[in-house]
């Protein structure tokens, strides 16, 4: 049985897959897995786009928000005592767990509430004081925020790697493998697709459609679009910017939670989860900072592109691990020809 988890995919290909490199189906499988990875990139990029559209803030903390959300979720699920390490250090006690386990759904609700509180605090304590600052200052503030949340999250829930299990099935989808096995020859056992990736795709589609429905058919959604279009005009017709910001950051928190659950189930909840923000940046550049479809299409392009590049050129000729920079280079070259990204708003400059 060919088994390759997405993350160790490249190493695996470099090692055992050489004999069947010519196999067209294997290439197809790479594309499929790239698409699935792309969905996860899109999820993170989506959070960026939402906040950028609504407040013009380039929110570097999106990745850390995913980490924080996942940490909180695990913490609630396992009944961890927040700040246990700190309390132990200060009072010399030895506490770590409350001794109960919450069902996943309750923990998710609690984690969502936490993200709402976080959104409210960010608006209240940070954004409110930074109105009218230059974009670069706001960007820096979100980097500061990311540092803070990283330290704070670890402080609250401990820094060790945690398993996240909310009941999403994992491992290869047997059904797809069996049904597609007849396509190839003797050495082809059917497409390997992780159940988790399928779930991620389904969830991402559900999330995006509900977001679109929300912004098209509700009053709040209309207000969100108005703010995204023109802050001043939105203010002048009586839309409260501050409320909108809290809502947007909460939605971004929700998106971060979903992304955190997906990535966390895949590779454990740990510091490196926050680095998915770095994966989402080239996606944003490709798709344009202001476009939700752009985030999705960009994510898919990056996902497929980097897997294909690694498969065709990176692993055989360049020594592998090209996934770290390929997306950036792709975006860079692409931007030289189209500076606003695929679907970004046309940049008009006036003197």
């Amino acid at each position: 049985m060919r088994r390759c988890n997405d993350i160790v995919h490249s190493e695996w290909m470099a090692g055992g897959g050489i004999g069947i490199v010519a196999d067209l189906f294997f290439g197809l499988e790479v594309i499929l897995n790239g698409l699935m990875a792309g969905v996860l990139y899109s999820l993170v990029a989506l959070g960026f786009v939402l906040i950028f559209k609504a407040s013009g803030i380039f929110n570097y903390a999106q990745g850390t928000m995913a980490l924080f959300a996942a940490l909180t979720l695990v913490g609630f699920q396992d009944g961890q005592v927040p700040f246990a390490q700190l309390i132990n250090a200060v009072f010399g006690t030895d506490i770590h767990h409350f001794g109960w386990n919450l069902p996943a759904i309750v923990a998710i609700v609690f984690a969502l509430c936490m993200m709402f509180v976080f959104a409210w605090l960010v608006e209240r304590l940070v954004l409110r004081h930074l109105v009218n600052q230059e974009p670069i200052i706001l960007f820096m503030a979100t980097i500061g925020l990311a540092f803070f949340m990283e330290g704070f999250g670890d402080l609250m829930w401990g820094a060790e790697i945690k398993d996240l299990d909310v009941g999403i099935p994992q491992g290869g989808n047997i059904w797809i493998e069996e049904k597609t096995a007849f396509l190839g020859g003797d050495d082809f056992f059917g497409f390997y697709i992780d159940n988790l990736d399928i779930w991620a795709t389904v969830l991402a589609i559900a999330l995006v459609s509900s977001l679109v429905a929300f912004s098209q058919y509700t009053k709040t959604g209309r207000a969100l679009r108005a703010v995204a279009d023109d802050h001043q005009a939105a203010l002048s017709v009586g839309i409260s910017l501050r409320t909108i910001w809290v809502i947007v950051w909460t939605i971004a928190g929700l998106v971060a939670l979903v992304a955190g659950i997906m990535w966390g189930s895949k590779s454990g909840v740990q510091f490196s989860l926050s680095l998915i923000a770095l994966k989402a940046l080239p996606v944003l550049m490709l798709g344009g900072f202001t476009s939700i479809p752009g985030a999705i299409v960009g994510g898919l392009i990056v996902g497929v592109g980097e897997k294909m590049f690694e498969f065709l050129i990176g692993a055989p000729f360049l020594g592998g691990a090209t996934e770290n920079w390929f997306a950036y280079m792709l975006a860079l070259v692409f931007l030289v020809f189209r500076p606003q990204g695929l679907f970004g708003e046309r940049i008009i400059e006036r003197v």
């Binding site: 550049m285 950036y328 860079l332």
Partner: protein, 358 residues
């Protein structure tokens, strides 16, 4: 009382244009220089050198470089770590390929190599602006680090993938390698810092600096009044990378000694240097130093208090440190978005009247 220009008459244009027009400032500057060159070398020991002074000096150079690009020319770069790696590896290759070449020339040449690489990665800045550019410079960061990891030629095919600084001397005194004395290393770095700071100050107030600032304030308007954006932007990238490269070379040669590229020049370096210039103040030479001092000293202080005073676990202390740094950055941006250099300027304004009300 002392800090005022009244009575300080200038009788030539040169005197009018000097860096420190106020006599008190000038004397303070000379006093600091004298202290740094004459007093510190006798007092410096290994702990202070490696924990505080050397990181401060070397980060100051990198911050100066990034400030030229971001503060003066308005092009945000997140590729600093990658360019530092270029400087370090260029220095290593030069040191090992030409063992007789003076280390001073090696370091300056590695700055020049970095300037070339920086210019190449600066080319997209003509088309890409703002955040798009910031993200685009990340391409440099990831690509360069990957390159130095994968291409064995850069680390001379060593088994560990690390590069190690061979021993080199200047005027017969050992500068690099484990046997160098703290005072020698300190003075060597200090000479670079002072020379580069002097150069930065004069670059940025000359015609180049004015062109950069015009581009920063609005590049289209600058183009209309006759600033060539190609030359201005690329020269800023080149100058900035030169500084950053020298900083990287010094990081490798005199500070770390042995370097593993992902560890030493990862994306964290890029962020730290960016924080330094934001906290210190964009578009200010003093700010680069102040920011570097702040971000080097604060973690040391926090660590000493938490681990030394309270006896907490180092892991816990590291988490709290991270949270506090983040908090301080946000706080700084809210209270004084123009950084420490603005506070310094305000202080000097106050000083001019002090202690009299007017």
């Amino acid at each position: 009382m002392f800090y005022r220009e009244a009575g300080d008459f200038k009788d030539s244009y040169a005197a009018e244009l000097q860096s420190f027009p106020i006599a008190f400032d000038r004397w303070c500057y000379f006093a600091v220089l004298a202290f740094a060159f004459l007093a510190v070398p006798f007092a410096v020991n290994d702990y202070w050198l490696n924990a505080v002074i050397l990181p401060f000096l070397l980060y100051s150079i990198a911050a100066l470089g990034l400030n030229i690009l971001t503060g003066y020319c308005g092009q945000v770069s997140l590729g600093t770590g990658g360019f530092m790696a270029v400087g370090a590896y260029a220095c290593y290759k030069l040191m090992t390929s030409f063992p007789d070449l003076s280390i001073i020339i090696c370091i300056i040449l590695s700055g020049a190599v970095t300037a070339v690489v920086g210019t190449v990665f600066g080319l997209p800045s003509l088309r890409i602006k703002g955040f798009y550019l910031a993200v685009a410079t990340l391409a440099a960061q990831f690509f360069l680090v990957w390159l130095f990891n994968k291409v064995a030629w850069f680390y001379n095919y060593s088994a560990s993938g690390q590069i190690t600084a061979p021993e080199r001397t200047v005027f017969g005194i050992i500068i690099t390698g484990p046997n160098a004395s703290p005072a020698a290393v300190y003075l060597f770095s200090l000479v670079f810092v002072v020379a580069l700071a002097w150069l930065a100050r004069n670059l940025t107030r000359g015609s180049n600096g004015r062109k950069w600032m015009a581009i920063r304030d609005m590049d289209i308007a600058a183009e209309i009044i006759g600033v060539d954006p190609l030359r201005a932007k690329l020269s800023a990238f080149a100058a900035s990378s030169f500084y950053v490269g020298i900083s990287g070379a010094l990081f490798f040669a005199v500070y770390l000694g042995a370097v593993e590229v992902t560890e030493a020049f990862g994306i964290q370096k890029s962020f730290i240097v960016l924080f330094m210039i934001i906290i210190g103040g964009l578009g200010s030479v003093f700010g680069s130093f102040a920011g570097a001092a702040f971000l080097v000293l604060m973690p040391v202080l926090l660590k000493n208090v938490m681990v030394g005073e309270f006896g907490w676990d180092t892991g816990l202390a590291a988490q709290i440190e991270l949270a506090i740094i983040g908090l301080l950055i946000v706080l700084f941006l809210i209270l004084e978005p123009h950084g420490l250099s603005m506070l310094w300027r305000l202080l000097k304004e106050k000083l001019r009247l002090w202690p009299f009300p007017y």
